[in-house]
Amino acid sequence: MNKYPERTDVVIVGSGAAGSLMAVKLSKSGKKVIILEAGPIRKPGDLISSQIHARRLKWSGEPVEETGAQPIGNVFNSGYGTGGSALHHYGVWPRLHAEDFKVKSLYGRALDWPITYDDLRPSYDQIQQEVGISGDKAREIWRPDGADYPLPPVPVFQQGEIIAGGFKKLGKSISPLPLALNSRDYKDRPACLWDGWCDAGCPTGALANPLALYLPQTEKQGGKIIHNATVSRILTDDGGKKAIGVIYHADDGTEITQMAHMVILAAFAVQTPRLLLNSADGGLANRSGLVGANIMSHAAATVYGLFNEEMEPYMGATGGQLLNQDSYDHKDKRTKGFGSYQWMIAQAVKPNDLLGFGGTNPALFGPKLTEFMQQAAQHFGGMTGCVEDLPVQENRITLSSDKDKYGIPLPTADHASHKDSYALWQAAKEEGTEIFKAAGATHIWNGPLGPMHIMGGTIMGDKAEKSVTNSYGQCHDIDNLFIAGPGLFPTCGGVNPTFTVHALTLRSSKYILKNWPAIT
């Protein structure tokens, strides 16, 4: 059965960080916006404080085949349902640095962004005021210039204090971790309770996720979100130069054609290229041949330790309490490899799950595991390095020969770290181990390389033959087809992507509104 609802101004695919922000800005200016979300509806009351229940928020759509030496971890890193992956993100919101935008120009490798930090700085500043970031600009000595954080820094608990001692002993700097969590009440949203349930989704609204912020505002302004809506194709006019809508499948299998003046793909870095590749022979908006290429994922360098002190490892935010970016600028000055990384220090941790302390040392079993669990509950400390992943064109999303229930080819994600990124990950682990020794850890160990965040796949750039979109996410080949989200990143730096996703999306929304008649 087919349905053809009324044409709308804008159809947005995906309700995560980028989709929800784009929706609120466009609907506020009077555009009729429909968001199509593949997953189910989520409400604050669904965000149960449990690492087992938290898995419900992760990707559970059709499977993504992952290949390569360092797979991207699609399920853990993606979201499914209202708010997408931003619903379970940890709210670590540092800015990219100026040199992240000019890696090719400065070092003759990787890629440049088509914009500079200064182009994005006003958007970073506006977003942090809207959302509320807790931090301390003066102590965050590595941070590029911009407005002060609107909220005071997050508290430091025992775990943070003790690990900070290691950094200080080695002459390294630390600052409060900039978090999109309220350190005090802010704009009708309450302060965080520092209970460490971020991964399960924050039902109080203290953490800036789409349910707490932009989606309710969108609906209030008349925007509409349709759940369980799996988009299979972007429709274009006969010449293929203009997007005219999308086809999606409702949960009952009904095929619906939603016509629109503008199509915005905000379906994250795997599903957005999948959609483009499935929408035309050779892929839509794919003159460059780069749709799907340059998929990146930060390498997580984990350092764990047991300490004699009471650490209170359950207190704080899942993202951490403190930050170090001493190994960020001057990407060519690392002991090994090339690139940037930061330490997120003293993350609140639970006993179970992929990031729980019980999983950190798989060699332990039986009574030794019991003994470890009891000791770690009070004496565990940890920190994670967010290590830059250099873009590699062969790391890419392609279409599989397998198909989903609607007959759409499944995506395959192939990813292997650049050798210099892998070497940088090793260097980070070594540095982290020395820091934990200096902090007085009695036992220290590391985890394997874990994929963290997914970026790239539809990169932006100046030239149509070397990128998929311009700096606003506007496809080079189709003026009224936009992409929003981390898929636009040509390089990923060594910081968490969500703040930059917001800044880029805000900038794009202003461009769209300013140029609406010409674009549509």
Partner: protein, 135 residues
């Protein structure tokens, strides 16, 4: 994992496998659902490898033998594992998954947090349906 049986490990896995909304950690680990075959093939492989090495069923192993066998599967497939069927997952991977399941069921509940002296601090308390069926 001491305590996993009493905490209802087998009920937990059965419950999740029979749920439409399966919450096993296996979701994260690049295994295509449904997951029933993962567990059944691995358990068959486990049993056959134990028989090959000790000429006993797994339940008959002494504690020392079980520890020795578990240590042997952490890094590679033990002898007898490969013959159990081509679909069986690698032994080290099965070990990691089952160990994680055991930690989930033993330490992932409010009562377990309490036993570790960790404040649970729930915003919304979980209801773990499998708990009512534990031994």
């Amino acid at each position: 994992m001491p305590g996993a049986r009493a905490a209802g490990l087998s009920h937990y896995i059965d419950h999740q496998l029979s749920s439409r909304d399966n919450l096993l950690i296996l979701r994260y680990l690049r295994v295509k659902p449904p997951f029933d075959g993962f567990y059944s093939s691995a358990l068959t492989a486990f049993e056959q490898a134990v028989r090959k090495r000790y000429n006993k069923n797994p339940g008959e192993l002494a504690q020392g033998e079980m520890s020795e066998f578990i240590t042997s599967i952490m890094q590679k497939n033990p002898e007898g594992w490969a013959k159990s069927g081509e679909d069986a997952p690698p032994a080290p991977f099965f070990y990691f998954v089952l160990r994680s399941d055991a930690i989930d069921v033993t330490y992932g509940t409010m009562a377990a947090f309490d036993s570790l002296d960790i404040p649970y601090m729930a915003h919304i308390e979980p209801d773990h349906a499998w708990e009512s069926r534990r031994e």
